[in-house]
C-alpha cells in the first residue's frame, strides 16, 4: 500500500462513535455528505481545518460505543489518511478494516507525537515516522488476513477473491 503522509490532529482517549458521527446523521449514505459531519460533536472545526492525507492521533479505546460503520466511513471520506491510537474498540477496528481504512496501534506514538507534527506512515510495515521530531514508532503489524482485506479494499472484495480462489482449486 502507498505511504501516508500528513499533519497530525490530536484527540484524547475513549473517543466514541457518537461524537465521530452523531445519530442524527447516521442515515446518510453518501460519503461526501457524511464527511461534512465527521467529528461533529467532538470538534466543530474538524472538517474545516483538515487537509487530505492528514493523520488523527488519539488516545486508547478509539471508536468505542455504537457499531455504526459510518463512523470510520466518515473519517475516511473526510480525507484523513489514517488513525493512530494505543488501542481501538473492537467493532470499530473491524469496521475500519472492512471498509479498507488504515488504523495503527501504538501507545508510544500517542504519547510522543504532538499536534501539528508532520508524520509519514508505511502501512505495509506499520512504521510511523514523525518527520518533525525525527522519531520513529512501530505499530503492531496487522495480521496477514487483515492486510489482505485492506489491500482488497474491504471485506466484500476479500470474500469474493477467497471464493474465486477456492472454487478454482
Amino acid at each position: 500500500m502507498e505511504k501516508l503522509r500528513g499533519r497530525v490532529w490530536k484527540y484524547g482517549p475513549n473517543i466514541n462513535t457518537d461524537v465521530i458521527i452523531p445519530g442524527r446523521y447516521c442515515h446518510i449514505t453518501d460519503p461526501k455528505e457524511l464527511a461534512r459531519y465527521c467529528m461533529a460533536d467532538l470538534d466543530t472545526e474538524f472538517i474545516k481545518k483538515i487537509k487530505p492525507g492528514d493523520i488523527v492521533v488519539a488516545g486508547g479505546n478509539f471508536g468505542c460505543g455504537s457499531s455504526r460503520e459510518v463512523a470510520p466511513l466518515s473519517i475516511k471520506a473526510s480525507g484523513i489518511g489514517g488513525v493512530v491510537a494505543p488501542s481501538f474498540a473492537r467493532i470499530f477496528y473491524r469496521n475500519a478494516i472492512n471498509i479498507g481504512f488504515p488504523i495503527f496501534e501504538s501507545a508510544a506514538a500517542y504519547e510522543q507525537i504532538d499536534e501539528g507534527d508532520e508524520v509519514e506512515i508505511d502501512p505495509d510495515t506499520g512504521t510511523i515516522h514523525d518527520l518533525t521530531k525525527g522519531t520513529e514508532y512501530k505499530a503492531a503489524a496487522f495480521p496477514e488476513f487483515l492486510q489482505t482485506i485492506m489491500s482488497r479494499g474491504g471485506l466484500r472484495g476479500y470474500a469474493e477473491e477467497e471464493l474465486a480462489r477456492q472454487s478454482a482449486s
Binding site: 461524537v19 474498540a89 467493532i91 488476513f145
Partner: protein, 467 residues
Amino acid sequence: MPAQTMLDKIWDAHLVRQSDGDPDILYIDMHYVHEVTSPQAFDGLRLHDRPVRRPDRTLATMDHNVPTWTRSRPSTDEIAVAQMDALARNCAEFGISLYDLHHVRQGIVHVIGPDLGITQPGMTIVCGDSHTSTHGAFGSLAFGIGTSEVEHVLATQCLRQTKPRAMEVRVEGATAPGITAKDIILSIIGAIGVDGAVGHVIEYRGEAIERLSMEGRMTVCNMSIEAGARAGMIAPDETTFEYLRGRPHAPKGTDFDDAVARWKVLAGDADARFDRTVTLDAAAIAPHVTWGTNPGMVAPVDGYVPDPSDITAEVDRQSATRALEYMGLEPGTAIEEIAVDRVFIGSCTNARLDDLRSAAGVVRGRRVHPGVRAMVVPGSTLVKQQAEAEGLDQVFREAGFDWREAGCSMCLGMNPDILQPGERCASTSNRNFEGRQGKGGRTHLVSPPMAAAAAVAGHFVDIRDWA
C-alpha cells in the same frame, strides 16, 4: 480435553473452519436486523445478485428511528420513513420475516428476540448493533457487527473472527435492597473503566449474578460493550430455562427437556481458566448515577461529583475536566443535589416489563415534579400491552409521565425524542456520551427506580431512603 470456559464450548461448537494463521470461521445461528445499519448491506447483495443464505435464521424489526408519539398517523419524519420503507422492501425481496411498525411483535431488537424465545442458550447471535451483547444473558455468544459484516452474514451465515480472550467478572454475595442490575453493571464499569474489557468476552458469575432475573441479566450483559467487551455472558440455569419455557419460539414438550439437557452442559468447567478475573463485593454496591460523558464516569448516589484536580493521571484529569464542562457540573456537588429537566425510562438496557414494574412501584401515588418532563417508552409493543394489562400505563399517566409506543427513542437521538441543548436527563439507557440524546443534551445514567424517583423529586435521590 483441557477444561473449557463457556466461551470455549460455544466457539468450538460453531467452528466451520480453523486454519493456522487465519481467524476462525464461525457459523451464526441467529442474525437480527434493524432499519439503520442494514440498507447498504442489502444494496451490496443486490449489486452482486446474491440471495440471503438463511432467511429462516434472520429476523428484522423497526426500532431505532420509529416514532413513539403515535402509530395512528403516518410519520412526518422523512428520513425515518425512507429507512423503514427500505427495510420493508428488502425483507420482502429477500424473504426475511419483519416485525414492522404496526406488528404486535415490533420492538427493540434486543427486547423482542429474548421475549419471543428466539434467543436461546448456546447460540451464536449477531446484529448490526453494539448492544447485541444483551443476548449473552442466556448463555449465548452474541456481539455487534458493522454493516460490511451484516452483508457478509446475510450472504454466508458465517463470520471470520479472531477468538477474544475470556474475562471473569465475579460479583460475590448479595446486593442490598433497592440495588438493581443497572447499579451492578455501572459499578463494574466504574471499577474497570470503559476500556477495561477491550478484546475480551466477559463471563459474569457469582451469587449476585445468579440471583438476578433474566431481565436483570440482560441489563448487565447489555452494557458489557460499555466496558469495551466484545460480548458478555452468563451461564444458563433454572432461571434461564423457566424464562424460556412456553415462549413462542422456545422448543415444546419433550423437545424442551432435550434442549434443557443440552443447555445445562454449556456452563464452563469448574477448573476452566480465564485470562483475567475481577471480583466485586455486591454488598458494597450503592445506587449509581453517572456524572460525566462516558459510563465509567459514575458515582454512588450518596457521593459527589469528583474534583478533576484530585486525579493524578493527566489524560484522565483532562477528560474529567472536559466532561464536567459539558455536563455543567461543579466539582464537589452532591449527586443528590443535581436537578433534572427530563426523565427517560426506556432503551434495550431497561425497558422490559420488570423495569417498568419497578419504576411504576416508585411512581404509584406520586406526581412528577412540576419542573420535569418524564416519559416511558416500552421496549416492545408486547411489553407495552402487558404493562397496560397490569395497569402500569395508568400509574405512569396519572403521575404525569408520557406513555409512548415502543422503540429506541431518546436513547440515541435518531427520532424526534431528543434533549434540547443544556437539558439534563435522568435516563435508564446505556450511553451518556456528548450529544447522544440530542446535541448539547446532558445524560445521567441510572436504574429505572432511580429515574422514577428523580422524576418525582426533581433531582436525584437515594432510592434506598424511599423503601
